[in-house]
């Protein structure tokens, strides 16, 4: 159903994003709790979510700071987790590139997995949308998740301060990462990247300054990209034979 106005595009995005309440709420809460466990006060935890607004990268930074990793490694690793945002930015550019710069700057702040996934699906399905309708849909799709993530962080940080150490929450973060990884493994190339990263991480665990993480991450990326290339070539060859 095409949008009649910019306003209806906004509300459509808003409604379409409702299912993500179930992810952003609990994970924001979890970030708050774990941040409090790591010694952050409510203001610090909130500032973290407000300034960075990227779940997986926030969890990564929190984990590495607790391991006393050098600050530069914390930054490189968390930003590496966020490199996919650059990919999102690049793939939205043909659809949003014509909007005014200030709108694109705002949109960049709100660019997360959920708003990207909803928007790119919508823009591809309905190529006739105007740029302002696309922008409105994109902002609508961020309208629930963003305040929810901030609010849940604050609530979590308040709760976390009351959780006794004996609860053994130290394995919750690894479980959260694993739960995020599972749904990302959509193709054989994803699996190859993941497997390579796991094996390299084990072999390189002895490297100082958490450098093994960078080596393992890079190896996984390269193997993933090469596997994708190889699979494409294999497919074209097979089709050429036919």
């Amino acid at each position: 159903m095409p949008f009649t106005t910019t306003k209806s595009a906004f509300w459509r995005g808003f409604r379409d994003s409702a299912p993500f309440i179930l992810v952003a709420g609990p994970f924001g809460l979890l970030f708050g709790v774990l941040a409090a466990e790591a010694g952050l006060n409510v203001l610090e935890a909130f500032a973290f979510s407000l300034a960075v607004f990227a779940g997986a990268a926030q969890f990564t930074a929190l984990q590495l700071m607790q391991e006393q990793a050098p600050t530069i490694i914390v930054l490189i690793s968390a930003l590496a987790v966020n490199l996919r945002m650059a990919m999102y930015s690049a793939s939205l550019t043909p659809y949003l590139g014509a909007a005014p710069l200030w709108q694109r700057a705002f949109a960049s702040y709100f660019l997360v997995d959920q708003s990207y996934a909803l928007s790119i699906a919508k823009f591809e399905a309905e190529p006739d949308l105007t740029t302002s309708q696309r922008m409105a849909y994109f902002f609508g799709a961020s309208g629930i998740v963003t305040p929810l993530w901030m609010g849940a962080t604050i609530l979590g940080a308040q709760l976390g301060a009351q959780v006794p150490d004996s609860w053994g929450l130290d394995f919750v973060l690894p479980l959260a990462f694993l739960a995020m990884i599972g749904p990302m493994l959509r193709t054989p190339a994803h699996l190859a990247a993941c497997f390579t990263a796991v094996v390299t991480a084990l072999l390189a665990a002895g490297l100082p300054y958490n450098f093994g993480l960078i080596v393992a991450g890079l190896s996984g990326m390269i193997v993933g990209a090469q596997t994708e290339l190889w699979l494409e070539r294999y497919k074209t060859q097979k089709e050429a034979v036919r």
Binding site: A54, Q63, Q66, T71, L75, T93, R104, S108, A205
Partner: protein
């Protein structure tokens, strides 16, 4: 858990804020309607599925709760969370089954 000083914390928060915004804004701001080089996009596609497993693997194999001794409950819980997430595509179901496995096995075999 060891704590870190607030100087480190704020450096990380501000650095990540600037870096994340930069990554998100880079192409929307500068590229116009140009197409990205294929090799770059191809590598960017695999950053999250490489760096997250690389981060989590040592935490699973050498858990901090057991002072880095390999532990069957932690290993099993990790495999369950990964498998359920992979098969169901449901993050919350994956976390819940992983946590149940961990606390169940810890209660059973300590």
């Amino acid at each position: 858990m060891s704590h870190f000083d607030s100087m480190t914390l704020w450096t990380v928060i501000l650095g990540l804020a600037a870096g994340s915004f930069g990554l998100r804004f880079a192409f929307l701001a500068l590229m116009g309607d140009r197409i990205m080089p294929a090799w770059l996009m191809r590598h960017l596609r695999y950053t999250a599925v490489a760096i997250l497993p690389a981060l989590v693997t040592p935490l699973v194999v050498w858990p901090s709760a057991t002072n880095a001794m390999p532990s069957l409950p932690h290993l099993m819980a990790a495999l369950v969370a990964l498998a359920v997430g992979f098969l169901s595509k449901n993050i919350l179901a994956a976390m819940a089954t992983g946590a149940l496995t961990l606390y169940g096995l810890l209660a059973l075999i300590g």
